[in-house]
């Protein structure tokens, strides 16, 4: 067989992780992007910088802090313990949470761009036609920002699939729970299983290429979004 069971398990886990992270970020990223696009608050700068941090930070730095926060003595660890969920590090959901932070800018920035490009006028028109701000958001802003949503979702999904450093820091290497495709390749190379590493790497390469091809086909100007990423 082209890929063995553990490879397929790792790929399936990766797809599950990326899908859940993308879904969570669609919900979390929308209000953040909307606020950043519309606000004139003095907090806009600091919040933008915080959202963009994962773009420049080494994944190990982010992973390290998240590990501390999720640990038994960290604020998130206290919270999860109090809720009876237990410790998050080295679990799938710990990985999901870490990935949400790590991929946040890949969702927020394209959405923010999309909302900014709509401008104020359509919102003003909707308001003078009797639409409340929430109504305006769902009937005007959201449909007009749909191409931005597609770009943001593709970038977030692809970026989560490509994670490695944060995964190792938070998730470790537990088959079926935290061993994603990128870690699986690393394991194969460590074990000198170059043939399997080749096959997995090829799958990742083809996947990434197809995702980017789809993105460019959909939006020829997506290059700017990627450059920012």
């Amino acid at each position: 067989m082209f890929l063995d069971t553990s490879d397929i398990q790792a790929i399936w886990l990766t797809i599950r992780l990326a899908s859940i992270v993308t879904a969570i970020l669609l919900v979390v990223g929308t209000p953040v992007a909307w606020w950043l696009a519309r606000s004139r608050s003095r907090w806009k700068g600091p919040i933008s910088a915080t959202v963009a941090l994962p773009l420049v930070l080494p994944p190990s730095v982010l992973g390290f802090y998240l590990l501390l926060a999720m640990g038994p003595n960290g604020p998130l660890g206290h919270l999860t313990s109090a809720l009876g969920i237990g410790a998050l590090p080295f679990t799938f959901w710990g990985l999901v949470l870490a990935s949400v932070f790590y991929s946040l800018p890949f969702m927020v920035q394209p959405l923010q761009n999309a909302f900014e490009s709509i401008g104020d006028r359509p919102m003003e028109v909707a308001a003078t036609l009797g639409a409340s701000p929430l109504d305006t958001f769902f009937t005007v802003a959201l449909p007009m920002a749909l191409p931005g949503y597609l770009t943001a979702s593709i970038l977030t999904f692809a970026h989560t699939v490509g994670e490695f450093g944060v995964v190792l820091m938070i998730g470790g290497n537990i088959p079926g729970a935290t061993r994603v495709a990128s870690v699986q390749i690393y394991d194969h190379v460590e074990a000198l299983e170059y043939a399997q590493a080749h096959r997995m790497a090829a799958v990742m390469l083809i996947f990434s290429f197809i995702v980017l091809l789809a993105l460019y086909a959909w939006r020829p100007n997506a290059r700017n979004l990627l450059r920012r990423g």
Binding site: V125, A126, A127, T128, L129, A131, M144
Partner: protein, 352 residues
């Protein structure tokens, strides 16, 4: 409709400070760019919050800094047509038109969809996407969308300025239908004196954030004649033309006018600048200008150092613009008879 605004609003170095009450259904807001007219209507619509003051429409307080009232735009029932059509690109023509209608409480829905579509002649492209429409069609859809919201007041913020000349005059009859057919009072914002006369009865003129004049649109045009590069524009209602010596002969009141431009046998409107009329004390035996009309002087007025002469010609009114020396030389006084000449090429047709 009665509107009273007493507001102050500052943006950096610019301050809008107005205090007025105006009544009527066809109100004009006149001013050059930077005069504050767009800020004024944005405040009225609730899109911009004034620093202080009060805004009341028909006795209903929309904003009051003292009473702590600031009604949200969607609660004001004041619709707006913008300079750019601002149609929703993700909705087709029908759904653009229905956007405000669906959100209008049932008790206010007096204008129905089919009537509006018929009046604005939109029935041919209801299912089309809005990106495929021409500039004039887009502006008609934007107008229809605002009317269908059944507002108690419609604000038209330079709705014609993004259109070219020929389209502009094609849209005006539709804009006029707002008050004539649907009975919605409106505020028409423009920097064009001609548009003001076509669209408004009472005009509020603004300069640098201050109200400088509140008068009739006709009076405003006369007051501004002397300062205007194009003078006072006489708007002439012409009958159906016939061909005459290579020109178009249009019936005008009890007389006729010869124009070098014309359209195919349709009644039209033409512009003639007050600067393009020459006055003669006596009948000139022969002149090159193809139009010579015997007129009676009705009145004289001063405008920016120029003298406007209001003439009664062939049952119509005509304004000519001359200098004081000419008034003295021609001995023009109210009631005197005078001859007005205009070249056939001096007229400009307004597209139908």
């Amino acid at each position: 409709m009665q509107l009273s605004m007493k507001i102050d609003k500052s943006f950096g170095a610019f301050t809008l400070s107005v205090d007025f009450t105006v009544s009527g259904d066809r109100i004009g807001i006149f001013g050059t760019s930077g005069s504050g007219k767009s800020t004024l209507v944005s405040i009225l619509a609730g899109l911009v919050k004034p620093d202080s003051g009060e805004v009341a429409l028909d006795g209903d307080n929309l904003f009051s800094s003292v009473k702590g009232i600031n009604r949200r735009p969607e609660q004001r029932r004041i619709a707006m047509v913008f300079q750019q059509h601002s149609l929703f690109p993700h909705l087709n023509v029908r759904n653009n038109l229905l956007y405000g209608y669906k959100r209008c409480p049932a008790e206010y829905r007096t204008i129905d969809f089919d009537t509006l579509v018929a009046v604005l002649k939109l029935d041919g492209f209801l299912e089309r996407g809005v990106t495929n429409l021409s500039g004039g069609e887009k502006q008609r859809v934007a107008l229809g969308r605002a009317i269908l919201a059944n507002p108690r007041l419609l604000l038209m913020d330079e709705p014609l300025s993004a259109l070219d000349d020929s389209l502009r005059f094609q849209i005006i009859p539709y804009l006029k239908s707002v008050s004539e057919q649907f009975g919605i009072p409106y505020l028409f914002i423009s920097h064009s004196l001609v548009e003001m006369r076509l669209m408004a009865d009472t005009v509020l003129a603004f300069e640098k954030g201050v109200l400088v004049e509140q008068t009739s649109s006709e009076q405003l045009a006369r007051n501004r004649m002397g300062q205007s590069f194009s003078g006072y524009i006489n708007l002439l209602k012409l009958g159906c033309p016939t061909a005459e010596s290579g020109l178009f002969a249009y019936p005008w009141g009890t007389s006729k006018l010869l124009l070098s431009v014309g359209s195919d046998r349709k009644a039209s409107m033409a512009e003639l600048s007050s600067k393009d009329i020459i006055l003669f004390k006596q009948h000139p035996e022969a002149i090159s200008a193809r139009n010579l009309l015997e007129c009676t002087v009705r009145s004289l007025f001063n405008s920016g150092g120029k003298i406007g002469v209001e003439l009664e010609c062939a049952g119509n009114t005509l304004i000519a613009e001359i200098v004081q020396d000419a008034v003295n030389e021609l001995c023009i006084t109210p009631g005197s008879t005078i001859y007005a000449a205009a070249k056939a090429s001096a007229f400009r047709m307004l597209p139908n």
